[in-house]
């Protein structure tokens, strides 16, 4: 949320590395992996506003990812609609489904909401299995690519990465303005939020709907990257994986969950034993983080920085400037 960011050079370096990635990655598989991370991040960036900022524990976003992927496969594949049009529609379908899921479940208390999202993920699996004519059932369905310059792995990477940047900018814009403050207020004290007039339910529903759009777009690109999807592709554990990326990365920040997504996606690919352990590894990591650094690993750095430069904590006496206060109140009257 801080505009005067001392990490700006680091961000620029990261951006350059991301843009040039196909030239230094070495092999096609790594480009594929980077594309996967970007597609995941589109979903996670939206989910981050829900989990990290608004404090709503949604563990079932994999259901929305599946909806986006199937919508894209059916539109662009079965009906041969232009893939870019299909992508936009898939985002819209994700948003509508997010809205419909949020409509009843966001009225429920925290744990009930988490269970509702869990159930939603299982329902989506049930429906994709049952609606064989649409989704191919258990056998799955082929997902077309985007064609043209985006047919090659490198081209597709740039496309997905570009859309990921777009979503990052959206969430960054939201997080640093009044909407971001309202979301954090809902997370930290919904009583305080209501007392200043934040419409609790409306903000939650709007945020959740946006995360549905992000999940739909992310799902469409994810499906196109996989080129073939079955209900097995969207196991419940994947939804938990997204959730863990955010919790581990830290709440109320964007960079932390971003790094979390990269590391958690890439690590099992490079450290073979972890790949065998699969979700066990994520579960153990989540437990360690919750017990040791519940604020997320992202906050360890903040904490270290504050440690290194101890503030002068001399007790300041609050001394009001009454003339300024009176002027501010007058200005408020006239506004």
């Amino acid at each position: 949320m801080n505009l005067r960011n001392p990490r700006l050079p680091l961000l620029v370096a990261g951006a350059v590395a991301a843009v040039t990635l196909p030239f230094w990655a070495g092999d096609v598989y790594r480009v594929h992996l980077a594309t996967l991370i970007a597609a995941y991040w589109i979903l996670v960036s939206g989910l981050n506003l829900v989990v990290g900022f608004t404090g709503l524990l949604s563990v079932g976003h994999v259901g929305l990812l599946a909806i986006g992927a199937y919508a894209f496969a059916i539109l662009a594949g079965t009906h041969e609609i232009n893939p870019f049009v299909s992508l936009v529609i898939a985002g819209g379908v994700g948003g509508v489904c997010g809205f419909l899921l949020g409509l009843p479940s966001l009225r429920l208390p925290g744990f009930y909401f988490a269970m509702a999202t869990l159930a939603f993920a299982l329902i989506v699996t049930e429906v994709t299995l049952a609606q064989q004519e649409l989704t191919g059932g258990g056998a799955g369905i082929a997902v077309p690519g985007f064609g043209g310059p985006f047919e090659s792995p490198d081209g597709f990477y740039w496309l997905v990465a570009g859309i990921a940047v777009l979503f990052t900018v959206f969430t960054w814009n939201v997080s640093r303005r009044m909407w971001g403050r309202a979301m954090i207020a809902l997370r930290d004290s919904d009583v305080a939020a209501a007392s200043v007039g934040v419409p609790v339910y409306k903000v939650k529903l709007t945020t959740f709907t946006f995360s549905g759009v992000a999940a739909g777009v992310g799902g469409a690109l994810f499906g196109a990257l996989q080129s073939y999807i079955t209900p097995e592709t969207f196991v419940f554990e994947l939804g938990m994986f997204f959730f863990i990326c955010i919790v581990i990365g830290g709440r109320g920040v964007i960079l932390g969950p971003f790094v979390g997504t990269i590391v958690l996606t890439a690590l099992p690919e490079f450290v073979a034993p972890l790949a065998n352990l699969g979700q066990f590894f994520y579960g153990a990591l989540l437990l360690i983080v919750v017990l040791l650094v519940p604020e997320g690993i992202g906050h360890v750095f903040t904490w270290l920085r504050e440690r290194r430069s101890p503030r002068t904590t001399d007790k300041q006496v609050v001394t009001p400037d009454l003339e300024r206060l009176a002027a501010a109140i007058r200005a408020g009257r006239e506004a």
């Binding site: 959206f170 814009n173 009044m178 954090i184 207020a185 009001p320 501010a328 109140i329």
Partner: protein, 259 residues
């Protein structure tokens, strides 16, 4: 001042308001009117229903009986989150701040009623969200300097000491541009010197035309700054009037001051 006069001059008016919790009557047919530009004290022993009455006025509890009227308009069923838009702000007995955000961000949140940009506009960085931010930031800055928190703008709210938290809550309430502000035990836990500063702030609010309701244990503070005082005991109103009048009321002395 008759009921009609209050309605004409504008005011927050509770008439025979009643709240029951199970079998217990927490607030029993209490009437109270808060006028613009006055400080109204609400005192009473523990469990007398002070905070419950404040929660009724700010909408956290629905009233079981009676009416709450603001400028002639009935508020009985108006939800909490609508009341800031009508000009009623409040603070909490136990400060409710956003610990992970800066002092400035906390105060800016109070300006939500004036934030016009929608979600999509904000995401697309349309000018309105930036203008909202600039206006609300400027307002919050002035208010924070005004209440004496100008030196800790960037500090996280969970690193503030107790007095700073109380003053920040007042600044956040003022950022709503309220016509009435309800303070729940603002002097609780403050030192003598800090209470003195609080008194100056509250008086400045009154002089600015805001109606202030002060729910307090600290009777000296209330009798010193308030224009009128209401005393509750066991949910009932036992005295109402000028500080002089209430201070000398035999019933008040018996149940409260004499205890």
């Amino acid at each position: 001042m008759s009921v009609a006069d209050v309605a004409a001059s504008g005011g927050l008016q509770a008439t025979r308001v009643t709240k029951r919790f199970g079998g217990v009557v927490a607030v029993d047919a209490v009437s109270l009117d808060l006028r613009p530009g006055e400080i109204h004290g609400l005192i009473g022993p523990n469990g007398s229903g002070k905070t419950t009455l404040l929660n009724l006025l700010s909408g956290y509890y629905a009233i079981d009986d009676g009416t709450i009227v603001l400028d002639g308009e009935t508020l009985n069923r108006t939800p909490v989150q609508r009341r800031p838009f009508l000009g009623v702000a409040r603070t909490f007995q136990k400060p409710r701040l956003l610990g992970s955000l800066s002092v400035l961000d906390n105060a800016m949140l109070g300006g939500w009623r004036d934030a016009r940009a929608g979600f999509v506009g904000t995401a697309l960085a349309l000018g309105r969200a930036r203008r909202d931010d600039a206006v609300l930031r400027a307002r919050a800055l002035e208010l924070l300097h005004g209440v004496g928190l100008g030196g800790v703008l960037d500090r996280r709210a969970n690193q503030l000491d107790h007095a700073e938290q109380r003053f920040l809550e007042i600044a956040r309430g003022l950022a709503m541009r309220p016509r009435f502000i309800l303070l729940d035990e603002p002097a609780g836990g403050l030192t003598e010197h800090e209470i003195e500063q609080l008194a100056r702030v509250v008086t400045t609010l009154r002089d600015g035309g805001i109606g202030v309701l002060v729910v307090e244990h600290h009777t000296d503070f209330v009798f010193r700054i308030c224009d009128r005082v209401t005393t509750l005991n066991l949910g009932r109103m036992i005295a109402q009037g000028s500080p002089q009048h209430v201070r000398n009321d035999p019933e008040v002395i018996r149940v409260y001051l004499g205890a």
